[in-house]
């Protein structure tokens, strides 16, 4: 600055036409200008220049340069006696130096700030700066620190402090008057100063808010660390914590009160975090002026976290201290502790037989036994599907306490807070729970028991709420598989059925459940397009199936008309009522309904069926009656012929042509005479329909038997017949 001014002066001199070659005259000239200079107030210009520079450096992101210039600006304001502005700037800049840890620079700024606050008689700032200058960051010598401390105590005793050294004499006089006013005005002034982690260790130049009164970071005079004895406590155990205070100033300092506040005052019975919200230390007393130092959280300040880190890294061997002394650096702040609920002393047992079968009423037995020494009250049970699982599972799971009714969709997946009553010590109770799972898969079930108990902690009785839970995973599987097929009356595979021709429906139930199943009954509900040939009776009444066993049923059905729908005719439904073999009688059976497949039905013009006995005997006449029905609306010309067979002699019309009227029946009677014993081929009937050339022999073979079993002739007393056979 001086150099610039001098060079400027040189220019002025040269402009003024001075002869610079003469050193004597130059000296005189310089002195003259210097004298003139004294009368000009440079501060304004300097400050303007400085603020321009600040803006420039801010633009180019040089935060430290900016801070340095702001310090210079603050000092300039001080020289210009504009203490308010000076203080504002210096305060703003202090944060940066605090966070960076440059204590020498911070001390010099603080000294200037202290002078400003003294000259303005600003009580709060004066106290705050004094406290900081007394603390561990300040690089002042001990004698200076004692001086500041004495002044501070004077202020707190409601007296004026001594003036700061190196202050302007006139300013000091006016300051003393201000202080005298303050003294007379004083009532009980309480100043609260927050000592806490104020600025994060961020070198990006965080903007500190200018409003600083309650959040002044008053460092290093007194350090505070609060610590809970353990990170967690049970509800029935008294919570203990310690508050450690360390003073860094040269003289002993007396505090009048210590308060610790928490985030909640009432002991609750649930799990929560207990925080120390703040620690307050009162300096001075309420009748005079007092300063309340306030630490948020468990203590610590802007430098303590770094110090703690260094302490933890240190390998210094800790000196052995007497038992009640603690090494300051080894105290770690533990500002919060977790309160957990009392350890429950009951047992919860679950009894069940997994896996569950889909749709069955699965029984879960919950046994609760109390091992507490006192009676437990208000025992409540919550049971059901553990929340948080797949939404599909939740929809398809139903829980109920009443096993006698089948639960449907309206039942919930989780039953909450079922009151169970009280339990005396050692008493046990059982509760049966029924679960119905609609889909296969694995489900997690939760049983949660909560109760209240009175306990005594340090001669005070409190009510604790305890709880215990058990989780169990239950698999659900399919109980059985049903296979349905259509066969002809000869138990041959049927691709299509024919109108009015009976065919068979066969159902096969294969048990896939690991548990034995009892099939209570089965029922066939036919669609209107299908009729039964005879009585539909369940053939599976009260059948017990073990794993892997299968049960079959057979029904004879007939379809009266082909129907117009493509894809066949609806057959109906097959309902099976079943339950676990080991289930109690009062548990209802579950009905599983299976939709039967459609069957393709075709019209056939001519239906032929045969009446013949089930077996023949050699040399005994075997009468056979063939019925031919005309299923069409037209008269059919039919050619019938019988092909002889070696095993038989037959009598009847070997070849005939006839006409059958629509809807009528023609009977053909033959007499077959078996010649050989054994499974013999019958003489085959050939029917030829003139209008339906594809009514072939193949088709006919479905309806009429092609072979018959012929028994040998019985032994007779007559030898002759034996000889003849």
């Amino acid at each position: 600055m001086v150099l610039d001014a001098l060079s400027e002066m040189g220019c002025v001199l040269s402009y003024a036409g001075f002869d610079l070659s003469d050193p004597e005259k130059e000296k005189v000239g310089v002195l003259a200008i210097q004298l003139k200079e004294r009368s000009i107030v440079h501060s304004e210009i300097i400050i303007t220049l400085l603020s321009n520079a600040v803006a420039q450096f801010k633009k180019y992101k040089c935060p430290r340069m900016k801070s340095h210039l702001m310090v210079q600006m603050g000092e300039e304001y001080y020289y210009a006696k504009d203490y308010t502005k000076a203080l504002k700037l210096l305060d703003y800049v202090m944060c940066d130096y605090r966070s960076e840890g440059w204590w020498t620079l911070l001390t010099s700024i603080l000294t200037t700030a202290l002078r400003c606050s003294y000259l303005m008689a600003q009580l709060k700032d004066y106290i705050a700066y004094s406290l900081e200058l007394l603390g561990r960051a300040s690089t002042l010598k001990d004698d200076q620190k004692s001086r500041i401390e004495k002044n501070l105590i004077n202020v707190l005793m409601n007296e004026s402090p001594e003036p700061e050294p190196d202050c302007d004499v006139a300013a000091v006089k006016s300051a003393q008057k201000l202080w005298a006013d303050r003294v007379s005005l004083a009532g009980s002034n309480v100043f609260s100063i927050g000592v806490q982690d104020f600025v994060p260790f961020d070198t990006a130049g965080l903007e500190c808010p200018l409003v600083c009164d309650l959040l002044l970071s008053v460092l290093f005079l007194v350090q505070c660390k609060a610590k809970f004895h353990a990170p967690s406590f049970h509800v029935d155990v008294p919570v203990q914590f310690d508050v450690y205070l360390k003073a860094d100033c040269p003289h002993p300092i007396r505090f009048s009160k210590l308060c610790v506040s928490f985030n909640n005052q009432v002991t609750h019975l649930f799990t929560y975090f207990d925080h120390i919200t703040s620690v307050d230390l009162v300096l001075g007393n309420e009748t005079g002026r007092c300063v309340v130092l306030n630490w948020q959280g468990g203590g610590g300040d802007a430098a303590s976290s770094q110090e703690a880190l260094q302490a933890s890294r240190s390998f210094k061997r800790r000196p052995r201290l007497p038992d009640n002394e603690v090494h300051w650096d080894s105290v770690v702040i533990q500002a919060s502790t977790m309160i957990i609920s009392r350890v429950p002393n009951i047992s919860v047992l679950l009894r069940h037989e997994p896996p569950a079968l889909t749709n069955e009423m699965y029984c879960l037995v919950v046994t609760v036994q109390s091992h507490e020494k006192a009676t437990i009250r208000d025992v409540k049970l919550t049971a059901g599907l553990k929340p948080g699982q797949d939404a599909n599972l939740t929809q398809k799971t139903h829980v109920t306490l009443h096993g006698a009714e089948l639960c449907d969709e309206s039942y919930p997946a989780l039953l909450t807070d079922i009151p169970v009553g009280d339990l005396r010590p050692g008493e046990q109770l059982e509760k049966m729970l029924y679960v119905r799972c609609g889909t296969v898969g694995s489900r997690m079930f939760l049983v949660y028991v909560s109760y209240l108990i009175n306990t005594t902690v340090e001669e005070k009785e409190i009510v604790c709420k305890c709880h215990k839970d058990e989780t169990v995973t239950i698999e659900t599987v399919f109980p059985f598989d049903v296979a349905v097929k259509f066969v002809s009356t000869k138990f041959e595979h049927l691709e299509r059925a024919y109108v009015d021709i009976p065919f068979l429906l066969m159902t096969d139930l294969l048990s896939a459940s690991p548990w034995a199943l009892t099939v209570v009954s089965s029922e066939l509900q036919l669609a209107p397009s299908m009729t039964a040939v005879d009585q539909l009776e369940s053939q599976l009444d009260r059948v017990v199936l073990q794993t892997g066993e299968s049960a079959s049923e057979c029904f004879c059905l007939r379809c009266p008309s082909a129907g117009t729908v493509e894809g066949g005719v609806a057959t109906g439904h097959y309902t099976v009522s079943w339950k676990r073999a080991s289930a109690a009688d009062d548990i209802p059976a579950i009905s599983t309904v299976i939709t039967l497949p459609h069957v393709l039905v075709e019209n056939i013009p001519l239906h032929v069926n045969a009446d013949l006995p089930s077996f023949g005997r050699v040399r005994e006449s075997l009468p056979v009656r063939y019925h031919l029905q005309n299923k069409t609306n037209l008269v059919q010309d039919v050619e019938i012929s019988v092909e002889p067979s070696e095993a038989f002699m037959f009598s009847g019309l070997k070849q005939i042509r006839l006409r059958i009227l629509p809807g009528t029946e023609q009977e053909m009677l033959y007499n077959f005479y078996p010649l050989m014993a054994g499974y013999q081929q019958l003489p085959s009937l050939h029917v030829n329909l003139l209008r339906f050339p594809n009514f072939t022999h193949q088709l006919l073979r479905r309806f009429i038997p092609t072979s018959i079993f012929v028994k040998p002739q019985g032994r007779l007393a007559d030898d002759a017949s034996i000889a003849a056979a």
Partner: protein, 150 residues
């Protein structure tokens, strides 16, 4: 970014040097971020002349562990060349490494020796702190460098 060791000669106007060192950190930061991933093969980064003010020149040097050395030199001392500054920094770095290797030294502590030697014309940027054995060597290295330049 707090100072580990700072010494200046002459001891008056120390505050000015402290400020200079502090503000030069801005330039150091900028240089580090600008370097970025480019020069990884060079293990130490000699930053060169950070910025010249009217009376002084400021030189910077950064180690791999982001410990910064800053040297403020009188401008009138024109005999000092870049190579010499570079070698001085290397000596400083070696000395600092020795201090680090000392098992009694806690990383992050300030370096201070029992003997505060009066130096010569050259101020060097670090700050005194706790006492511990290894700093004596560091201090004497610094002093010898100061004497050498004088």
């Amino acid at each position: 970014n707090y100072p580990l060791y700072i010494r200046s000669v002459p001891t008056e106007n120390e505050l000015k040097f402290h400020y200079m060192v502090h503000t030069s950190l801005d330039v150091v930061d900028e240089k580090i971020s600008a370097m970025g991933k480019a020069l990884v093969d060079q293990r130490e980064l000699y930053l060169g002349l950070l910025y010249p003010t009217e009376d002084y020149k400021v030189y910077g040097y950064v180690t791999n562990s982001k410990v910064k050395f800053v040297m403020v030199v009188d401008s009138s001392n024109t005999a000092l060349r870049d190579n010499e500054i570079r070698s001085m920094f290397r000596k400083l770095h070696a000395s600092y490494t020795d201090v680090m290797c000392n098992p009694f030294y806690n990383p992050g502590d300030r370096i201070q020796s029992r003997w505060a030697l009066l130096g010569t014309l050259l101020p060097v940027g670090c700050l005194p702190g706790e006492l511990h054995p290894g700093a004596g060597a560091f201090d004497s290295t610094v002093t010898s460098m100061m004497i050498q330049v004088c």
